[in-house]
């Protein structure tokens, strides 16, 4: 009796399956995977997005350049260029890898190509030494020192740059820039003056910054530090004692350790959370002890000249201030 029931159920399921297939519901199951279905592809955690040769973007690289897309960039020196730099930038959840393709420079004659893991401006680095996992000398990778060993350099965040110096006209090199997904981005420079972002630090003892290089009005909408997420938000004077808190920093450089703190948010705060920060660089920095999963969500928009003027007039001090 039970066996009969089981076979009947199986037959019923089979019938339903056949009907759904014939009805065409399965046409929505499409293989849009960008990785090939290899046997051991699930061992490889990274999606290999191989752009075919004809689709790869190519253009010459300039002495002072900013690159925000993947492709091959060739620099050819028509005259000695002794101080050049190219900045690379990606989306917040991506990291950049730079590969040397064909390099024809005179290392012994003083030429160099150095990739830096981050951005350097006026001697200040982003991310700061406190926020970056590598020591400073490891963040500079010189082709002449380690060219044959390291043909590819990968950044730890969404920005990277390359410094180069060519003495002889006619020397050239080609860089291939690719982007890779970073599931838990830590240090980010925002590409645009408007947007929203959620920063998550999953139980890691590290400090992460989100840098907006514009004067913005920032609105922190949601914020949870481990088990404190049920409490109403309040800003306490003694925030630094708790291991997990969010800092708002502002200033005129890109090094987050040299910016001045505007406010600290740790346990909870009530009331509106809008802040207008008239600084050239606004940073949301999260300090995490590693005990909890910390998350902060915020949105920001550019301040127009009227608002900037109001902020400047309301403050006697020269330092960019918020209200």
């Amino acid at each position: 009796m039970r066996v009969m029931e089981r076979t009947f159920r199986e037959q019923l399921f089979f019938l339903v399956l056949c009907l759904s297939v014939l009805k065409g519901d399965s046409r929505y199951i499409e293989n849009n995977e960008i990785s090939k279905d290899e046997l051991y592809s699930f061992f490889n955690s990274e999606l290999k997005r191989e752009t075919p040769e004809e689709l790869m973007y190519r253009r010459p690289l300039r002495c002072l350049d900013m690159v925000a897309l993947e492709g091959q960039f060739t620099f050819t020196a028509d005259r000695p260029q002794l101080s050049c730099a190219a900045f690379f930038m990606a989306e917040p959840n991506e990291v950049i890898s730079v590969d040397y393709d064909s390099v024809d420079i005179d290392c012994r004659g003083g030429d160099f190509i150095t990739v830096f893991d981050g951005w350097v401006m006026k001697g200040q680095k982003f991310p700061s030494s406190q926020d970056h996992p590598l020591p400073l000398y490891e963040r500079y990778v010189d082709y002449c020192d380690s060219g044959s060993l390291r043909k590819s350099v990968r950044s730890s965040q969404n920005v990277a740059m390359v410094f180069f110096r060519i003495h002889n006209a006619g020397s050239s090199f080609t860089l291939t820039v690719r982007k890779h997904i970073n599931p838990f981005p830590c240090n980010v420079i925002s590409q645009s003056p408007e947007g929203s972002y959620t920063m998550v630090i999953p139980q890691q003892h590290r400090n992460c910054s989100f840098s907006i290089i514009y004067p913005v009005e920032i609105d922190i909408s949601e914020f949870s530090l481990g088990h404190y997420n049920n409490f109403p938000k309040r800003s306490m004077p003694g925030c630094a004692e708790t291991g997990d808190f969010v800092q708002l920093l502002g200033g005129n450089g890109i090094d987050t350790s040299k910016l001045l703190p505007i406010t600290d948010l740790c346990v909870s705060f009530t009331g509106p959370t809008h802040m207008k920060i008239g600084c050239d660089n606004t940073v949301v920095r999260m300090v995490s002890s590693g005990k909890f999963v910390n998350r902060v969500s915020f949105s920001y928009r550019l301040l127009d000249s009227q608002e900037l003027q109001t902020i400047k007039l309301n403050n006697v001090e020269d330092f960019c201030f918020s209200n």
Partner: protein, 200 residues
């Protein structure tokens, strides 16, 4: 029974031996080179650059390259006196290469002086370039897809497409509209109008 833990040990040893080879590090900086001296010079550089930028419009890269060159030249006389005063003629070449290596490893970390205004403009231009390129790529892929669809024989509804649909950087609106009346599609092949739109 004994071979299983041995196998485990062997496999763990093999897997752990996939260590990343240590990249060649540049020589360590002597203590007196990093720190305060550089900061003062950077500040002087800032003032110089700001004054020059305020004075008029000179092309940014020329200005920067001159300043950076001057900056580096100013630093190098400090380092040259490190070399031994007497140079043997026999190993002159060796001393020169040693001097070059020393100079390069003791140079301050590379930096560029750029204002935020210039940086923001550069980011804006780079974003526009990226969007333009993405739109072109999407258009190319879309054209290829449409060409393939038009070449497919729709009289037989079970004919699969010759190759899988290429990956577009946005939601592909074609998926929902594909299963139309195949006869109409065949007749309309010659007079198909497609609105071109850019998917970003």
């Amino acid at each position: 029974m004994k071979s299983a833990p041995l196998l485990l040990l062997l496999s763990s040893v093999l897997l752990s031996s996939h260590l990343r080879p240590a990249a060649g590090r540049p020589r360590t900086f002597p203590g007196w080179l990093d720190g305060s001296g550089r900061l003062q010079q950077t500040q002087q550089m800032d003032e110089m650059l700001l004054r020059a930028a305020a004075a008029g419009d000179s092309s940014a890269s020329d200005l920067l390259s001159d300043n950076i060159l001057r900056f580096l030249q100013r630093r190098s006389p400090d380092h040259l006196h490190l070399l031994p005063p007497e140079e043997d003629e026999s190993d002159d070449g060796a001393v020169r290469t040693a001097a070059q290596l020393l100079k390069r490893s003791e140079e301050p970390p590379l930096s560029i002086d750029l204002t935020f205004h210039l940086l923001r403009n550069m980011i804006q231009m780079a974003k526009m370039e990226s969007q333009r390129e993405q739109a072109q790529l999407n258009r190319k892929v879309l054209d290829e897809t449409l060409l393939e669809i038009m070449e497919t024989d729709f009289s037989d509804p079970l004919t699969p497409l010759a190759s899988p649909l290429p990956h577009l950087q946005a939601h592909n609106p074609l998926n929902s509209g594909l299963l139309v009346d195949s006869r109409q599609m065949g007749n309309r092949r010659s007079s198909c109008h497609f609105h071109s739109f850019s998917i970003v």
